[in-house]
């Protein structure tokens, strides 16, 4: 066998091995989580001793279940996504379609720095910001849901901007030429043709950003998450969140039962993230069918 043939054979076998390796890793993680968390999965894990309907309607507070953490995570993710979506996608759109090359390079550098910022540093930034505000403009300011969401939004904005810019850059040049020949202005072309066509890629970025916001612990533990706060009372109040509950349980558990409840919480977080992923996928599919026509 020649040298080129041998290296070709090795490469082919490496590729055959690597693809199942990813599936194996994900499978092992899932099996481990399900085995550990499944026994503790029950309505009482979520709602404690409170009837589910009373907890869902907010008639009774849940102090021994994960419902407040689920609600806190949901509020946090929704708020962070709401804050990051417009600036993130807008920044990506500006970078790909409107920014002069030198300005685009500057913005990309700033985005790379922001994307590379460890989340604990972002948490520290939020914490220091509150200290600064307390000393200057807002003496009553405190760590809260709003601060956590703002820091998370800052953390995920570069992901959104980068995926939006990449998705738009991948659009064929002929599409732009066709729009220009039809009399679309650059803004109309971007708004009515490029953005909808690039939506599958942008939706991928949104899913990544939402997943990152849902799982991040370092930011929220310094900016507003606590172990026992009940349901989020408002933007300025502290809150519970699933990743923080998992972290707190794994660090402070007293017995095996409590540890198993931690695994149950991890399984819940996974289900919540998967649910969001599925919802994003369905929305994207529905939009694509409506926009591009039914296949």
């Amino acid at each position: 066998m020649t040298r080129a043939g041998l290296s070709d054979l090795i490469l082919r076998w490496c590729l055959r091995l690597f693809a199942p390796l990813v599936i194996l890793a994900v499978g092992a993680l899932l099996v481990f989580l399900v085995r550990q968390g499944w026994p503790s999965l029950s309505p009482s894990l979520v709602f404690g001793s409170v009837p589910a309907l009373d907890a869902l309607l907010g008639r009774q507070a849940v102090w021994d279940g994960l419902w407040p953490a689920c609600a806190g995570t949901f509020c946090l993710v929704a708020l962070a996504a709401g804050m990051a979506l417009f600036p993130g996608i807008g920044c990506g759109l500006y970078l790909a379609e409107f920014a002069p090359p030198r300005r685009a390079a500057g913005i990309r550098l700033a985005m790379d720095v922001l994307a590379g910022t460890p989340s604990i540093v972002m948490g520290l930034f939020g914490f220091t910001l509150i200290l600064f505000l307390r000393k200057t403009l807002l003496p009553d300011a405190n760590t809260s849901l709003l601060l956590s969401a703002a820091c998370l939004a800052l953390l995920v904005t570069p992901v959104l901007a980068a995926t939006t810019a990449e998705s738009l850059a991948a659009m064929p040049q002929s599409l732009r030429a066709t729009c220009q020949a039809l009399g679309f202005t650059k803004r109309q072309c971007a708004r009515h043709m490029l953005l909808p066509c690039a939506l599958p890629g942008i939706a991928g970025g949104i899913v990544l950003a939402v997943a990152r916001a849902a799982e991040d612990t370092a930011v929220i533990m310094l900016t507003g998450a606590v172990a026992n706060a009940g349901l989020p009372a408002g933007l300025w109040s502290r809150f519970e969140a699933l990743p923080f509950s998992i972290y707190y349980t794994s660090a402070q558990y007293q017995d095996q039962d409590e540890l198993l409840r931690g695994f149950g919480a991890a399984l819940l977080l996974l289900a919540l993230s998967s649910g969001l992923l599925l919802a994003a996928h369905l929305l994207e599919k529905r939009f694509r069918r409506r926009w591009q026509g039914e296949v």
Binding site: L175, G183, F184, Q188, G293
Partner: protein, 270 residues
């Protein structure tokens, strides 16, 4: 009434004689490389003008100079004068002096419809291909869109073939149908001039014939400028013919259009 006045009145009242496109001393260069040199060209208010030439002769650049689409390419520099009749008599397309006002690019391109060599359908459904430009560029209200889509598809003989496929992706149509859809989309925007860049080059014989028949019909209502490298097609369609070579206008025929063999010979010489 002297002869000159007579000529002007004749031009003003008879659309077949009125000029709709007038190009003088046009020069186009990309990054220092001159593609068009001192080109003169004109076309009447109705009728089909064909520009023929070999690859690289500058015919597409001339076509794209009419709706200023060359400017979307990097390093484009245009000199000379291009005037089009877009409903208010001949008007300059490029500013002739510093600060001179011309129509905004988007309006110009909407009024100068263009069909490309390969069908350039938008990646949306058949109906949306016409509806989106109508809504965005012309601002047609939603209640009128359905009728306008139907009228445009009927104008190119595509309604019967696509009436039950309006919600399907436009890319699922055949090549010939896609090209007719592009033509319908251009017509829906109510252009004053239609430009077609080798519209049958990527089609089979039957589809090409359907497009040619369509163009012959449309030439009675619009000034059409068609770029072609096919002598047979040029001889069949042309009511006036321009032959280009190496970025220059080689020959013009306003009447007595040569046959396919003669055009082929001209192209060979060019």
């Amino acid at each position: 009434m002297n002869h000159a006045t007579n000529h002007v009145m004749n031009q003003a009242t008879n659309p077949a004689r009125r000029q709709s496109i007038c190009v003088e001393h046009l020069e186009v260069a990309f990054g220092g490389r001159r593609v068009l040199e001192n080109v003169d060209f004109d076309a009447r208010a109705t009728g089909l003008s064909v520009i023929v030439g070999r690859s690289g002769s500058g015919k597409t650049t001339l076509l794209r100079a009419l709706n200023r689409l060359n400017e979307t390419l990097p390093g484009c520099r245009t000199r000379g004068r291009v005037r089009l009749d877009l409903g208010r008599g001949l008007e300059d397309v490029y500013p002739q002096s510093l600060g001179a006002r011309v129509r905004p690019l988007s309006e110009l391109r909407r009024l100068v419809g263009m069909v490309f060599q390969t069908p350039s359908v938008l990646p949306v459904s058949v109906a949306q291909n016409i509806a989106v430009p109508l809504k965005v560029v012309r601002g047609v209200p939603g209640s009128e869109i359905g009728d306008r889509v139907r009228q445009a598809l009927e104008a190119v003989g595509l309604w019967q073939e696509t009436a039950d496929r309006l919600r399907l992706p436009a890319a699922s149509l055949s090549g010939g149908q896609q090209q007719r859809l592009c033509l319908a989309r251009a017509l829906a925007l109510e252009p004053a001039v239609l430009l077609l860049d080798e519209p049958t080059a990527s089609l089979d014989v039957h589809s090409a014939r359907a497009i040619e028949d369509l163009l012959t019909g449309l030439a009675e209502r619009y000034p059409l400028v068609v770029v072609s490298h096919n002598p047979r097609q040029a001889a069949k369609l042309a009511q006036s013919l321009a032959v280009m070579a190496k970025g220059r206008m080689q020959a013009r025929f306003e009447r007595d259009i040569p046959d396919a063999g003669e055009i082929g010979r001209l192209l060979g010489e060019a």
